[in-house]
Amino acid sequence: MKSGSDPDFLFSPGDRVRVRKAAPLGHVRTPFYIRGYAGVVERVCGAFPNPEELAQQRDGLPAQPLYRVRFLQKEVWPGYRGNPADALELEVFQHWLEEQ
C-alpha cells in the first residue's frame, strides 16, 4: 500500500514516452516546442507540487512525479543538422507523458 503523499511513478529511466499534445489554458511548464514528441526517460527527479495548480494559488498537492526526458534533435526539428546524437533534455511532469 502506498501512503497518501507518495505518488505513483509510472515511468523509469530508459522508458520511451511521448509528451501529450495538448493546449490547456493557464500556467504550464511544458514548452510548446516539445508537445507531441517522443523521447526517453533520462532520470526521475522526484515529485513536485503541480505548477499548474500552484499558479491558481492552490497547494499543488498531491505532488506530481517529474522526469527528465531526452529527445533527439533530429526528431524534433525537421532538417536538423549536427551529430545524430545531439539531444534536448527537458523536465516533464507525469501527467504530460504517455506511454510510447
Partner: protein, 205 residues
C-alpha cells in the same frame, strides 16, 4: 550623493515592486536596509562558487562522483548554502558537450553563479539554442566538433543546472585555486570552455 539617474515613469511591474516593498517595510516585515543589503549581495555574487566546485571535481574524483549524483549536496559540502536549490551537474566529456538554457523564463543557479547575464534571459538565446545549438555556440566563439554530441538542457521546471567543463590540458600540478580561475561563468553555462590564458609576452623596448 545618491545617483538618481534619469527620470522615467515606472512601468506596471516596477510599480508593483515598489508598492509591495513599501508595504512590507511599513508593516515591519523587512527593513529598507535589509533589502539594500540583499540586493548588494546578489549583485556582488559572481560565478566563484560554481568555479570552486568545478576545480574541486577536477582534483578529487570522489567529490566529482558525489557532485554528479547530487549537485546541491556537493555545493553544501564546500560550505555554499543553497536552500531549495535542486542542482544537477552535467559533465562535459570528449564525446558530449552540455549547454544550459531556460526557454520558459530565466531559471539559473543564482546562488552559485550570481545573476544571469542579459543574453541568457534574451528571447534570441532562449529560442535559438534549443534548435540550432551549434550555430549559437559558434557565435559565442565555441566550435563544437561534429563528432561531439551536444546536449541542451532546458531548466523548464524544478531543477537547475550547471556544466562541469573538461579540465584543460597543460594544467597538471595546478592548485585548486589556480584551476578555479580558469572556470568562467560562460564555461559553467556551457557556451565556452576553459582556456589557459596566453602568457603575456615580455615587451621588448
Amino acid at each position: 550623493m545618491k545617483d538618481l539617474g534619469t527620470y522615467r515613469p515606472l512601468d506596471y511591474f516596477q510599480l508593483m515592486e515598489v508598492s509591495l516593498r513599501e508595504l512590507l517595510v511599513e508593516k515591519g516585515v523587512v527593513t529598507e536596509d535589509a533589502i539594500a543589503a540583499a540586493m548588494a549581495a546578489m549583485r556582488a555574487r559572481g560565478p566563484e562558487r560554481g568555479a570552486a566546485m568545478a576545480a574541486r571535481a577536477w582534483l578529487d574524483p570522489a567529490y566529482k562522483a558525489r557532485m554528479l549524483a547530487d549537485g546541491s549536496q556537493a555545493a553544501e559540502e564546500l560550505g555554499f548554502e543553497v536552500p531549495g536549490l535542486r542542482l544537477i551537474v552535467m559533465e562535459n566529456t570528449p564525446r558530449t558537450h552540455n549547454v544550459i538554457v531556460c526557454t520558459l523564463c530565466s531559471c539559473y543557479p543564482r546562488m552559485l553563479l550570481g545573476l544571469p547575464p542579459e543574453w541568457y534571459k534574451s528571447k534570441p538565446y532562449r529560442s535559438r539554442v534549443v534548435r540550432e545549438p551549434r550555430k549559437v555556440l559558434a557565435e559565442f566563439g565555441l566550435k563544437v566538433s561534429p563528432k561531439v554530441a551536444i546536449r541542451v538542457h532546458d531548466s523548464n521546471a524544478d531543477m537547475r543546472y550547471m556544466v562541469l567543463p573538461m579540465r584543460p590540458a597543460g594544467t597538471g600540478g595546478w592548485s585548486e585555486e589556480r584551476l578555479a580561475g580558469l572556470v568562467t561563468r560562460d564555461c559553467l553555462i556551457g557556451v565556452a570552455v576553459p582556456k589557459i590564458p596566453k602568457t603575456p609576452q615580455t615587451r621588448k623596448s
